[in-house]
Symmetry: C2
DNA sequence: CCCGGAATTCCACCATGTGAAATTCAACAT
DNA sequence: ATGTTGAATTTCACATGGTGGAATTCCGGG
């Protein structure tokens, strides 16, 4: 296949086995970017950009993914979104341990206690993934994070709590890998590192409307994760509903719920068999 | 990239746009094969075989897919299964119209009425996909079809009903494309064509333990499909519980439920926007 | 009508993916 | 123990399938 002439743009996965299929990795990288896109999906430009691919290359791959049903495309906006085949694969891919089910009660209790929207996040590669959500009585307007949405670990309260719960060396690697992506959120790797430190010192994460202005989040990491996968519980509300005093209250509730969740998880079975290639 | 010397083995997707990424298509084809595998997953041999790829090629692609988290591998049996990243994508890929939700009541009512296991199937490419299931009081032992499992359209009652509901030209194309796969189920394209004819004449599908001996299924297609996607309702039981007289009863129930389901669907919104590439 | 940015198509080029063949590994029988 | 069979894995010389800069088309706004 083709050569490349210009400067090297790619390398979305810096530390990956050399041999294999570059194209396949690129295609998957595009899928990840599409599933990271919030709201109405992502345009070719955005995707090519964030996957670090030249536009024509991205275009070609996206076309194949669409033809195969992994992606769909909005006729009007030309934006790509995940396709029905991925939904179908999702049905067949039963998770080793079902985090959503295990945490359903916890989420519900927190939401009832605080009245605001509650999130369950988990780590997925360099991303935080929104696994589940309970809407509080005080609705968040302005596109909230949906179930299945991704963003770089560290961006947002829930994602920050997950990142801070990783071993230092691993957290550093993630921050490094995400450096470029932070910029699109008006952040830098350096700043994230500071946040992580603060989160570790404090024991839980707080964010102040960096992503969507006017919103604030409080989040706590779940013990050693769920089935070995790092995870967090988060509460998000408009900033004025989360003054320092109330942050304190919410944090107390989160700490309590995390503790009892950890006990439940201690009984549940262990992690996967051989997921990452040796 | 590489040339090929031996005879042409591939062509899982006979009618697909020439230009693009062959590798990507092959990789996706492998994913489909993995998700078609029942029970404990699929071995390299099986996958290479059914995807029509030389073993080393399949091996290389599977390794990448595993490294990226789309596949996992059982340490002991070396068998591949769908990975957690696909589950995660599935969360984000909200279906245009939620067939499972729309048919939940129907499935429950049928199961209660007949006492045996009931399935909701839909078409996905050349496959029938098990979208949902309700266990009857008379359990099916011997690995039943799980939610998310696939098999070639035409193999099994539910899959046959879906196939027979397609326009003749389309059904023929599907049968043609699946010819090789039928053989692995002890069937032939010719025989499937006969079954389709019989199903159309009868108005519903019956199968007699072709797949798993001793079992029998009765199935009916759902009007014009669900959100434009062809689908079926099926009841499966051990053969002795489905003698001709009882088949008649079950069919009556299916016909009644299909009718009322069709009315519910008439209110629900329409199909996708621009899924298959022009 | 014309402009700017995004989407799409072209196409010369060669690095990348290919697959037959050889090697290792695992399970089972002798 | 030792051979035997079949699957999994690695190797490597080769030429084709993928590449991406440049050119073209499309679309929305002024």
């Amino acid at each position: 296949m083709g050569g490349f002439r210009g400067l090297r743009l790619m390398d979305t996965h810096p530390a990956s086995s050399a041999d294999g299929a570059r194209v396949v990795r690129r295609a998957i990288s595009l899928l990840r970017e599409v599933s990271a896109a919030r709201g109405n999906g992502a345009t070719l430009k955005m995707l090519a950009d964030s996957a670090g691919l030249p536009q024509p290359t991205a275009h070609r791959l996206l076309k194949v993914l669409q033809a195969e049903g992994l992606l769909e495309r909005d006729a009007a906006s030309r934006a790509y979104r995940l396709g029905s085949l991925l939904y179908e694969f999702g049905l067949a891919a039963v998770p080793r341990v079902d985090a959503r089910r295990l945490c359903a009660g916890t989420l519900e209790r927190i939401t009832r206690a605080v009245g605001d929207t509650t999130y369950l996040n988990s780590r997925s590669g360099n991303d935080a993934l929104c696994l589940d959500r309970r809407e509080g009585s005080f609705e968040i307007h302005a596109l909230p994070i949906e179930i299945g949405n991704r963003r770089p670990l560290g961006v947002g309260a829930g994602a920050l709590a997950v990142l801070a719960s990783l071993p230092s060396t691993e957290a550093d690697a993630v921050i490094e890998a995400n450096a470029r992506r932070y910029r699109r959120h008006g952040l830098t790797a350096e700043r994230i590192r500071i946040y992580v430190e603060a989160t570790r010192a404090r024991g839980f994460a707080i964010t102040s409307g960096r992503i969507v202005a006017q919103y604030r989040g409080v989040a706590i990491a779940v013990g050693n994760g769920i089935g070995g996968v790092p995870a967090s519980l988060a509460v998000v509300a408009i900033a004025e509903r989360l003054d320092p005093r109330r942050v304190e209250q919410v944090a107390r509730i989160l700490i309590r719920e995390e503790k009892s969740l950890r006990e439940v998880l201690a009984i549940a079975p262990a992690g996967p068999t051989e997921s990452p290639v040796p």
